[in-house]
Every structure is written in structure tokens, then in C-alpha cells.
Symmetry: C2
Subunit: 215 residues, 2 copies
Amino acid sequence: MSQPLSTALLLRRHPERAMADRAAAIAVLDEARVCHVGFVEDGRPWVIPTTYGRDGDLLYLHGAAVGRLMRTLTSGLDVCVTVTLLDGLVLARSAFAHSMNYRSVLVAGTAVEVVDVDAKLHALRCIVDHVLPGRWDEVRPPSSQELDATSVLMLPLDNISAKVRSGAPVDSKSDRALTLWAGDIPLRQVIGDPRPDGAVCESLPLPRSVVGLLE
Amino acid sequence: MSQPLSTALLLRRHPERAMADRAAAIAVLDEARVCHVGFVEDGRPWVIPTTYGRDGDLLYLHGAAVGRLMRTLTSGLDVCVTVTLLDGLVLARSAFAHSMNYRSVLVAGTAVEVVDVDAKLHALRCIVDHVLPGRWDEVRPPSSQELDATSVLMLPLDNISAKVRSGAPVDSKSDRALTLWAGDIPLRQVIGDPRPDGAVCESLPLPRSVVGLLE
């Protein structure tokens, strides 16, 4: 079994970048759409991207019951779930001081399977509504067969750490005297036009969830 | 020590989403700016976001020599480096068929430290130029002190697997008959206006690297 977990470990480098505010860390989880889940199988690390949901102090993950991730995790395994929002490029006058602006949250702990049907449906609602708020109520809910084919895991947000870097590069005083351009370049994600699939009748209006996303 | 690695393991689920083309997988590595590095420490998984570079069949990672990642990796440890580009939301008529459009690459292997000074400088050039092509030649190169404070790791691209999902949702025939909107919504990253830092003189033009990025 693994060693006890200490969140102090997570912040050994650049402690000034730690987000002290738990609410700010949770806001990052709520803004991002994909996490990277790390786990150990046969002594080897694996990192898999997936969607997730959050309700209060619980993070939900899901996947096909036969998939690599779920097959491994349903026994209650240690995971590290990391979410990163990339906010920009940081271009300094020295190669060394180049960096990125970002907000990143790391949740470490032991994920356990959600087996109760109602709890599982609630978790899936959280996951679908995380991708697009309000979407769950617009669509056909899972059949019992679909529910059986999906595993859901929950991870308590007990060990959560967050880091943020923002703003201009930090060059030394002597580097700042060089006649070199330095600064930062923001990056952001934009939402394109919804593309109805081939079976959507032309007169069907956009659902409220999509209208909300585009506002 | 860990078990031998089989990339077949990586594609057990949704094998139809595998990118057969190695060049396409490498194009994903080249397009993304941040990777998530997974490693095992004291039996526990950790996933940390970082920048990287690529040259041919080598991936380069770097970090402060005293940092968690590098302290762990310099002994030549198993890592899993995963890169994900999120391309859109996939909104189906059933909760179950909701998905994301994405391109993701997973590189598994043993990372080893680059110690030769010239090789290290080359790796750092790859990393800086990965963030912004041409930037290395515009800035002050690392001093020997800075070089000592940075560790560089290389990971061969021997075990690389990639997955892609694109296009419309895949609803069942009976679901497609429901009067529900379904489709996909593209997401993309856009580059904002460069913001010079406080020490840049107003008459200084944008460097070629930044002009290239904005084109």
C-alpha cells in the first residue's frame, strides 16, 4: 500500500504559486472540461484524459465498466486527478525565465466505486451537466443496461492543491535592461457554432443548455 | 520493477478511435503546449502538468532540479506522458452517448536524465521553441548556473498510442427518432493580443516569433 498522503508535498516548488483559497481551486475544477487521471497498474503509471463532474466535496469519474481505467479503479485505488487551464505564454528575455500562465488543480486520494443506483444516476447527472449545464434534463436518461455498462467512481476533495501563474514574465534586473521584447500572450478557449447532426429537423430550436453556453 | 510495456493495453476500449498513423500522433504532440506527466512515488500516482519539446523520436521534459518531478525522474523512472487537445462537445439524445471530440496521445516509457551540456542545451532549445517556434534564438541563453538549476529528461517515443474522436454523436436508431436536438459544438484555442511587460520600450517591435504566432 502507498504512503500516507501529504498535500505539503505538492507545493515544494514555487510555493508562491499556491492558491490558498479552496474556493478558487474548486472554481478551476468547475471551469475545466477534461481531467487527467493518473493511476498505477503493475507498478507503472498511466495517465488518461476523461470528463468528470463535481458535487460539493466529491469528484465523480466514469467510464465503461470494462475499460482500463474502471477495471483498475473499482477496487478502490489511489488516483491523482489533475486539471489544467492554460491561460497564456510567458515570454521572458532569458530562455530560463520562459513560462506559461496557467491554473492547475491536483486532487489525490483513493477513488471508490459508486454502486447504489440512485447515487450512480446522480453522479452521471453531475458529469453530463459538468460538460454542459442543464443537459441531463433535456435528454433520455440511461437505461438499466446502459447503467450496468458504466462504472462511476467518487473521489473526495480532501487532498486538493492548486497552483496558479499569471501576468508578466519575471526577468532579473540585468535582463530587464536588455533591448529584448518580453511579455505574455493570453490564450483562451472559444466556443464555435453548434452543428446539428443529420437527424435533427431544421425547425427544431437549439436546446436551452446550448443557448446558455453561447450566451 | 514494473511489468513490460505493451501498447496493445492502451487501446482496449474504443479501438476504432486509435490513430493508426504515427505521424498524426506526433502532430498532436507538436500542436499541444502542455502535457500531463504521470509517475509513481512511494507507490502513489502523481500527475503534473508541464511544458515539453520534441526532436525526432525523443520527447524532452524539464524542470527545476530540486522539483518533485525531476527529483523523482532523474534516477530513470517510468513515466506516462499524456497530451490532450479538446476539440468539442458531443451532445447526444441519450445521456449515455454524450462524449467529447478530442485528440489524445499517450507516451509510456522510462525517462532518463540528459547530462551532457550540449545535449541539454539542445533539449532546452526544443522546449522553448515548442512553446513558441524561433524564440530560443531571440533571447539570452542559459548561464551555467541556470543550466545547473535545470534538469532535463528525455523519453523515447517508442511506446506511443493515440486516440481521436471527431464529428457527430452516435445515437441508436431509436434515439435518433426522438425529437431532441443533438450535435457537436467545436471548441478551439485562440491567441490574444501580446502584452509587453513594463520594461519594454514602446518603439520596440514585436519579435519575429510573436509575429509568426499571430499570423
